[in-house]
């Protein structure tokens, strides 16, 4: 097995090799670059193109679903709205609530098979109650810039043709999360250590350390999406978003502080606090119906 350092080195080398291959193999000129003389010289690459976005507002009701979650998935209901200054640039806002969340198989396994002992009683006061300490996303919102570099058509089995575009969004977001409350060392000792504990379980006072609190977390927001237009003002959007932030997804006592107060060592520090938060690369998939206003589309020469 390679060490972590060697793995990183291998990754960097692979990326360099791929980049070199792309730049050297592709050659200087793309065959698709319009380099012509004659009557077609200087003519636009596309004529009579429908500009679905320029000078139009949009509203997009959508549903979303988080991906790659360790303990709990969130089902979002919401939407986005915005305005496009040009056909390739716009601004937008997105918001949604997540009233429904679904535990992953790992959470179910811990709830049914997790073992409580004096050594892990802070991390897992109760196996049955583990879903109560798992971090959950409750809502999200973002302000972002939309960039639409690609326009084209999509043909399905040469029977159906739809105008499509691919867009990229970048901005900032805020997310409301529910997660396990802080537990100080004193609280932990009073509730879980000094109290008589039945074997394999926790006393009611210790269970109380699984209480929850809400926080609002800022996060960068990145995404990419595909729009497929049914007509001049209605289309289907499929969108992937990523919003990494640091939170207590598990509610475990995962990390401590060293003698200088720096996080990342000193486990177990016998307290639940900010040092136990881990950065996760949160992702979601959104599917929505985009409606453009006004309904008339601009068509190029």
């Amino acid at each position: 097995m390679l060490t972590q350092k060697n793995r990183r080195l291998l990754g960097v080398l692979a990326a360099l090799a791929l980049g070199t291959a792309i730049t050297t193999l592709s050659g200087a000129a793309s065959a698709q670059d319009v380099q012509i003389t004659g009557p077609l010289a200087g003519q636009p690459a596309v004529r009579h193109m429908r500009q679905y976005r320029v000078n139009r507002f949009f509203i997009t009701p959508s549903v979303g679903y988080t991906l790659q979650d360790e303990f709990s998935r969130a089902l979002f209901f919401g939407g986005s709205l915005g305005f496009h200054f040009t056909d390739w640039l716009g601004i937008g806002a997105w918001g949604g609530g997540a009233p429904i969340d679904i535990d992953t198989d790992l959470t179910s396994q811990i709830a049914s098979n997790g073992q409580v002992s004096p050594q892990n009683r802070l991390s897992l006061p109760s196996a049955d109650g583990f879903p109560d300490q798992v971090g959950r996303i409750r809502w999200g919102a973002s302000l972002h810039v939309l960039f639409i570099p690609l326009r084209g058509k999509l043909s399905l089995f040469q029977a159906g043709f739809v105008d499509t575009d691919l867009y990229i969004l970048a901005g900032v977001g805020l997310f409301g999360v529910d997660e396990r409350s802080d537990v100080s060392r004193e609280q932990y000792r009073a509730a879980c250590v000094d109290q008589p504990q039945p074997p394999g379980s926790s006393a009611p006072d210790c269970l109380a350390t699984q209480s929850r609190t809400s926080r609002i977390l800022p996060a960068p927001m990145l995404g990419v999406g595909l729009s497929m237009y049914f007509n001049e003002f209605i289309g289907l959007q499929i969108e992937w978003r990523a919003f990494p932030f640091s939170w207590r997804a598990s509610g475990f006592d995962e990390s401590g502080e060293d003698a200088n107060g720096a996080p990342g060592s000193g486990f177990p520090d016998e307290q639940i606090d900010g040092a136990d938060a881990r950065t996760t690369f949160n992702q979601m998939l959104n599917v929505g119906i985009v409606i453009y206003l006004p309904t008339e589309v601009q068509i190029t020469d």
Binding site: S30, G38, H48, G152
Partner: protein
Amino acid sequence: MFAARHNASGRDDVASREAASNQGVAMRKASVALLARALAGAVPLPRSAVLLAGAALVSGSVLLAGPAHAQDMEFSLDEAEQQPQQEGSAEGADMSFEEGETQPTQESGSGDVIGDLATTETAAEQTETREAPTEQQEAREEIFAVQQVYALRINRVEITPTASFSLNDPFVQHTGVGVGLNYWWTNVLALGVNFIWYEGLENESDIGYFVRRATRLAVPVNSYQFGAHLAFTYVPIYGKFAMFNEFIFQYDIYVLGGVGLMNTRPIPVIDPEVRSFNFDIRVAFNVGIGLRVFVTRWLAIVAELRDYMYLEQLENLEVALGAERTNPDTWTQNSPAFINNVTAHLGLTIFLPFDFEYRLPR
């Protein structure tokens, strides 16, 4: 004076109908003017060009009677009427055909209108060194309603080096490098193999360790050494898109499915002091979908999502007591688990041979 029709979307509106109607009138007038000049000998066109102009006249008349569709390209009557004056200048015409001159043949390796026009640049530059023609010349250019497929796949071999990443395993990141080989026996159907090497590139995440430490619950995880898979590929979708309304790229979307082998083993996490596992072969089925964006006629960027499905032998969560603890038969679970290893591939694809010939000239 030219016109090209390209029924791109099958949808039209009043504006495009009017534009098409105007275009049809322009096309007909242009064809009549060009044909008349050719017949009068004013324009030195080859015979085939005269025939084509006549055909364009007939086509323009026929199309005028039918419903109009959206166009991708058109040239106005004004542009065309100004053209002879420009061509009569000392700069000369960008494109001209004299007696006996022929267009580049398809065997030259071009394949579309844009490519052909680009190849005429050299000829146009050569004509600039000549004296300005005394006779007024008109350019003639053929634009076909349906262009040829940008890159033919039939009878070509495709080599695809890729990097791959697992998407649905939070405990082990199954990173791999691989290469695929496809033979296309039609333009849309291929049979191929791919090989992925994982050992040494995988990375076990921290979450497994945290869960074990916090809950005393071990999650069985596995590592891969390599995978080798046979798959049929079918291309149901292809098209083109414009980047910044300037650069045109061709793409296709393909689906694939097949069967292969995975060489995997459990990572001992329940009783690592005693247990160790060797790699073993599993039969794996795979289905996937991919996107191929052509950079040239022989090079493309490929992104693919593939699900490798197989029955995995997981480590036994229970440790046998006594001498049975060291019995390898007690180290794995009695029944295998069904695994979906959803993997993203990203890489290049190279078509060989680099050149190809179209079966028909147009």
